[in-house]
Point group: C2
Chain length 310, copies 2
């Protein structure tokens, strides 16, 4: 491998666009994750709200800045699908807080995971089948079409607030295997349709390889997202098999699975995306690995599988 160029503060030029999402180093505090990212030569970090809220958004911003990092995104707003008005009000209020946190952190991108069906247990609550409706009756708890309409309505409610704070709602389509329990937003095309009524600087989309790699319409929709100026984040991790018992935690390092990173990365590049490439891996094995080794693997895979096509 060619010698690695070193910039000021130990930054590596070849990692200039690589960002550590703190979910990848789940057991680290924000300060620890920022230190690990900086030590590995990265310039950016994507942060989850739990690690931000532990210290408060203002202090979190200082911690990140002290390590010379920028914040590529805040994860996450969303879970906006409930038909219950009180719960919806609380969800919107929490999303407004997320918008303010993003602004305090100095990031433009608030990742949105919109939420699942009303019939489905909340994340972590375990399986709890919802009683079926009467024969022949409508079943609002399983009504995917209506649930998706509610998402559109609530994005419309939030968008002006995000705009006021200089924050973009970055709609993340999740893999269809999460359509019941986590996100009724399942494809990039659907995310772009949802974003269409809004300024691209206010509502954008996330391209996460784990969630969208399978999509036969992906090339066209990535190009569309780029042409509209809506690509808010490019997140990478790999589709590995067999799936973990908790499929949410089934992701692998880039190169360990079946995603064609060369092709997808070229589509994203050709769409004009010049932002960060965030590595967000949910996997027990990765979480059990020392952070410096995880960062080293991330860097090696980035240089090998993503950077040549970026």
């Amino acid at each position: 491998m060619a010698p690695v160029a070193q910039a000021a503060h130990g930054r590596r030029a070849d990692l200039a666009r690589l960002s550590l999402n703190t979910a990848t180093t789940k057991h680290l505090t924000l300060a620890e994750a920022a230190a690990a990212a900086a030590a590995a030569g990265l310039s950016a970090i994507g942060v989850w709200r739990d690690r931000v809220q532990e210290v408060g958004a203002d202090q979190a911003a200082r911690v990140v800045a002290d390590h010379g990092l920028r914040v590529s995104s805040l994860c996450r707003g969303g879970f906006l699908t409930t038909p219950d008005p009180d719960a919806a009000g609380a969800a919107l209020e929490d999303n407004r807080l997320a918008v303010r946190e993003a602004a305090a952190l100095g990031t433009h991108e608030l990742i949105m995971v919109v939420g699942g069906l009303p019939a489905c247990p909340a994340p972590g609550a375990g399986a709890r089948p919802y009683p079926s409706a009467d024969p022949g009756a409508a079943d609002p708890a399983r009504d995917l079409v209506a649930t998706r309409r509610r998402v559109a309505d609530r994005i419309a409610e939030l968008a002006p607030y995000a705009a006021e704070h200089g924050v973009r709602l970055a709609l993340e389509p999740l893999h269809p295997m999460f359509a019941a329990d986590r996100a009724v937003l399942s494809t990039l095309g659907q995310a772009l349709d949802l974003a269409a009524p809004f300024d691209p600087d206010v509502v954008g989309v996330v391209v996460d390889t784990y969630h969208v790699w399978w999509d036969p319409d992906l090339a066209r929709q990535v190009a569309r997202a780029g042409a509209e100026g809506r690509i808010a984040s490019y997140q990478v991790c790999d589709w590995v098999l067999p799936l973990a018992a908790e499929p949410l935690n089934s992701r692998g390092h880039v190169g360990d699975g079946y995603v064609d990173f060369a092709t997808v990365t070229r589509w994203v590049r050709d769409a004009g995306y010049t932002g960060d490439v965030e590595v967000e891996i949910f996997h027990e094995d990765v979480w059990a690995t020392p952070a410096d080794r995880t960062l080293a693997t991330m860097a090696e895979r980035h240089v090998r599988h993503v950077l040549p096509h970026l």
Copy 2:
């Protein structure tokens, strides 16, 4: 519940379009499954090739006819994605055999599960990561676009043979969580694009709720499939959570999960589909249940969740 109308041979009028797919009663021979279906009042059965080949296609046809049943479909052809010419030749030959078996069974519909990426282990072979390509190089084993093109080429090779035998290749989009290992055909729209060059009587599509329920474009594509005369089979089972350790065997009885059967069934009805409704459930618990109980549950759920909208 209203009293059940009984027709000749113990057929139930309310189950006139309900078909038992033999995968639902995995441990039964074809004769046992046919007997169970007939005893429950069904008029149709969808058969898998393993159970047909145990007795031979001609004898299988007699067994089914002796129970007064029609064959709603034969499962399955496909697994046509290999880039290796010898393996491709063998796969095509096996598919031609499947066409002849379908013809012998007197069914028009041969369900096609097209196969996964070259990089991915064959079903049942366990996880075996395929070595990555050199940095910057193309990686044919993960090239989803090229793999999908090969499927199109091989459908084109098979179509005339199917036509000669009066059999339709029924392309089944599988849930995107199977895109790597079982089917690079992931959406109904993609299946219809693939079918478009061919006569609708020769290449059709399958609508299986388990695989397509999440699709934001489903209403439109079901209508398109109907307008083109390509709906070869409507298969039903439910999306239940948590996923089983082997996600293939994660399906539930209609009504046990999150699919909105009222809505999807109405779309299929409004698309003009008048064929059978096949219940195909892969689940260890269902397989461990006595067949008469499984059939009783199938019938009850059909009458409750599907029939009112059919």
